[in-house]
């Protein structure tokens, strides 16, 4: 039966949530939405009904968050709770009904991003974990992992620096670039901690879109077939050599839990 992280919301019956909940996590600009755009039709071709959902899109709080962020006036506890409200609304009104109807729910980020952002802003880690204890445990979390050096060119040459994604609320005296660097570095550190704690499956996102897509497909196919979590798809650690790859298919990356080594060419 499906579980939560400790608190069951009133009126939520966990027994009949037969769909699959798949989370795509990763920092800003890492290519989550691109991947979801590819994954949805791929799943639908296999006859799976897909619900795609993401952050700040709830009918209750989505508009309020957008307006509040435009004014940049939210306190950090307030902002965290506004996101939690939005998440709860989406959980109850989108995710749970879809899971009950047997859908594959593909979510662009989940509670982990919300926690990471809050913690970077000095929010008590124990407190923020408690806030999200009502969240459903997903069937899998695929974390698109990237280093800040690989991230910078993507952001600069696509959307440009965004106020919030650069953590300008934290470093108001810095320029966008410096602030972005600091903010994303600490965000990525938080993700690594969360990854270990919540068992993320790590996908190297520094490679091309097609390769990331193939790896995600393999992982999702495994989740949908109900097979246990096994090293079926591959991530190459940045400093890995050809020899080490031959020795073992699994490598330990610092602070990132179990990572599957690359084996696509072999």
């Amino acid at each position: 039966m499906r579980e939560t992280y400790g608190v069951v919301l009133p009126g939520m019956n966990l027994a009949d949530l037969t769909g699959k909940l798949i989370v795509i996590e990763g920092t800003d600009g890492v290519g989550r939405s691109t991947q979801i755009r590819l994954l949805k039709p791929w799943l639908e071709q296999q006859g799976r009904a897909v619900l795609e959902t993401g952050m700040t899109r709830s009918s209750l709080a989505g508009k309020g968050i957008k307006q509040a962020k435009e004014g940049h006036t939210l306190g950090r506890v307030t902002l965290s709770l506004f996101y939690a409200t939005d998440f709860a609304d989406r959980l109850e009104n989108e995710i749970v009904p879809a899971l009950r109807a047997g859908f594959v729910v593909l979510t662009d980020r989940y509670i982990y991003s919300l926690m990471a952002r809050a913690m970077v802003r000095g929010i008590d880690p124990v407190w923020i974990r408690n806030v999200y204890r009502f969240a459903l445990k997903p069937d899998a979390v695929f974390y698109l992992r990237i280093g800040v050096d690989d991230l910078i060119p993507r952001v600069v040459f696509s959307t440009g620096f965004d106020y919030w994604e650069s953590g300008m609320d934290l470093h108001p005296s810095e320029d966008m670039y410096e602030s972005f660097l600091k903010y994303q570095t600490s965000l990525l550190q938080q993700f690594d901690v969360l990854g270990e704690e919540y068992g993320f499956e790590i996908v190297d996102a520094s490679v091309d879109v097609r390769t990331v897509f193939e790896r995600l497909r393999a992982g999702i196919a495994r989740v949908l077939s109900g097979e246990p979590r096994e090293p079926l798809f591959a991530v190459r650690g940045p400093k890995e050599t050809a020899e080490s790859r031959q020795e073992s298919n699994v490598v330990e990356l610092p602070s990132s839990g179990k990572v599957v080594a690359a084996g696509t060419e072999s």
Partner: protein, 227 residues
């Protein structure tokens, strides 16, 4: 992020709690006037008044789209905004801050709606612990009579209609408030709420309240605003 009880500010925070019709707002208004006359820099902070979150709360209530979880979280968001932008700065500045309802209202309402009591308490752990928290204790029928006499009807969420206790609004209101009352009683020892018998004459309750507040302000003479 500081947690409940860890804050150390020069200002003082007094709050009132109780079910609708307990007379708590009247008592707070009288206390406010007295504190001002005594020369304290006193500010009144209303429940549910943050302009930022107000729109979302209003929309959710109007369209009846709030579940126990979102009801709880949107009120916590609103409270956090008031805490961060209003109450904490005022306390830092050394003001006497008065709140009509505080986190205990949320604890009572949310738990009656089925939220996990521990979760809700932890959710509000960013709140400042009040210098004094007054609980106006009143029997349900007395409160009901005071309210229903003076009003034409109660609102959907106020009557706890979302809980499906009764089809009849007045009946639902009574059942809901009865359960809220039970939650308050549990919180009196848990949070050292100062219980005031709200069936006593108004001036008598006020005199008790002033006595307690005076004692708690004794160490805070520097708060006095020069006349």
């Amino acid at each position: 992020m500081k947690r409940y009880g860890e804050h150390r500010f020069p200002g003082k925070l007094f709050i009132v709690e109780g079910i609708d019709g307990s007379g708590k707002s009247t008592q707070l208004m009288l206390l406010h006037q007295w504190l001002q006359a005594e020369g304290y820099g006193t500010v009144f902070s209303e429940w549910n008044s943050s302009p930022l979150v107000k729109e979302t709360t209003k929309r959710g209530k109007k369209k009846q789209m709030l579940t126990p979880a979102t009801f709880s979280l949107i009120h916590a968001t609103d409270f956090a905004d008031r805490m961060e932008h209003n109450i904490i700065p005022l306390l830092k500045a050394g003001a006497v801050v008065l709140c009509d309802r505080y986190i205990y209202t949320a604890f009572a309402r949310d738990v009656v709606r089925g939220m996990d009591p521990k979760w809700v308490r932890e959710l509000y752990s960013f709140a400042v612990k009040p210098t004094g928290a007054f609980y106006f204790r009143v029997p349900l029928d007395v409160a009901m009579k005071r309210i229903l006499d003076g009003r034409t009807g109660v609102k959907f969420y106020e009557a706890g209609m979302d809980l499906g206790l009764s089809e009849d609004e007045e009946e639902s209101f009574k059942l809901f408030q009865g359960r809220i009352l039970e939650e308050y009683e549990k919180m009196v020892p848990e949070f050292d709420l100062i219980a005031v018998d709200a069936t006593l004459p108004i001036e008598e309750q006020q005199s008790q309240m002033r006595q307690t507040v005076r004692a708690k302000l004794a160490q805070a003479k520097r708060l006095r605003v020069a006349p």
